[in-house]
Amino acid sequence: MLAHAIFFYTFSFIAIISAIMLTVSKNTVHSVFFLILDFISISCLFIMIGAEFIGMMMLIVYVGAVAVLFLFVVMMLNVTQQENQWFISTKSSTHLPVGLLISLVIFFELIVVIGGWKFKPDLVTSMSLSINQNITNTHSLGNVIYTDYIHIFQLSGMILLVAMIGAIVLTFRQRSGVKRQSYFKQISREKSEGVKLVDVERNKGVNLDD
């Protein structure tokens, strides 16, 4: 149990510190790197409670794909230094009241969740499913997702599809004057239609048609 505790406190310490550094660090790219560190330590925590599938999915989806694109955008926009941070500058920021409101809401939600877990332990047992210890958690997740919750699963898939199509539609623009490469056209070119012999008149030149 000692080793377990050591690992747990190490990972949660790293997670909390990197979450704080994420908001505090001046350089936006550093913030994204702290976000990635946060994701990694959270997925380690997931693995420690035995939810290995979710931990790995977190690594693959959030760290491997989402954060890469995030980093991409931040680097491309080149917002390296953030001036006027509310905790440094003397000017009052308009973000402060909204941020405080959101953090208050999250704080109360946390109190409700932890309170429910602390003072009413049967709540957790009645809400969670009975888990078969003999099968891996990938199997047990699959058993639940594709049977009892298939409609919700499909619905979330549809939402993702709509978001994807929306993103494509928003960024799609038809540009004129772009020459597209057609492999079929290139391969099916013959000598007879590709090359033609022209008698050039003196001082006239050749008229090339495209």
């Binding site: 000692l2 080793a3 290995e52 690594l59 760290v63 890469v68 991409f72 990938t138």
Partner: protein, 333 residues
Amino acid sequence: MFEYFNIVLLEIYKILFLLVPVLVSVAMIVWLDRRIWAFVQKRRGPNVVGPFGLLQSLADALKYIFKEIIIPASSNKIIFILAPIVTMTLALIAWAVIPFSETHVLANINVGILYLFAVSSLGVYGIIMGGWASNSKYPFLGAIRSAAQMVSYEVSIGIIIINVLLCVGSLNLNDIVLAQKKIWFIIPLFPMFVIFFISALAETNRPPFDLPEAEAELVAGYQTEYSGMMYAMFWLGEYANILLMCAMGSILFLGGWLPPVEIFPFNLIPGALWLIFKILLLFILFALVKAIVPRYRYDQLMKLGWKIFLPFSLIWVVITASYLFYFNLLPTI
């Protein structure tokens, strides 16, 4: 307390027993790569240091160690130093789950293939960090190219893995190997093997997909500003990644540590040797491709990844699933 100490020592011993051979074989594989490349082009290749030039990589490593490490003045120093470390570490930690036989595996975890996939998808960070922190044009362009390329080809690798998993019914690497006892997956899933091989080339930035370090356009891409030992670490990480991709290919499609047929002379050879033999075979293919094929253009690369490989592997998932379902071959728990 001593109990833990013993466990830690034992694990460290096991890790060293795995890592030292991997690092040595990385050095050897660089030599092999250059030799094959040379033979295809009718050159001699490195043949001076040691017998057949076998010690060439060690000589190179020695040279890199004694070279000065230059950190550009305008670079972001911490990330600049972290980048090669990240690349190297990620290339090495993935070896923890590779099974060399039914029992010889450092961590026999239930989600082994997902772990491999996750670690190989994290590999892009070393390159992005290096490219960005160098604070120079060529490395940054190389890093951006590489990020887009690796993210694109990961998608098709993921779907290819789904194909294999449909036939196995488990994410454990040992189960994947054992499921190929009757027939290696390269035979029923041959098109997937071809796509996996090409995607692995793109994922490890090997020619013909070495656009992140296309020397004619980008000097050396994300490695431009690196020198000395840090460059060597990038280089080691890259080759360790290539070996890892070969190992992944041989586990997914070539039956891992299984002998080709379970008859007398073959089943005497230990499984680890079979796995190494298969990794070498795939690596020789990698090296041959490097020597033979010219570099792709960037838009062709993206077109290949998104418009050809992704739809094709998705269709193949449907075909595999329907075949298994129709003939009632779906694996049970």
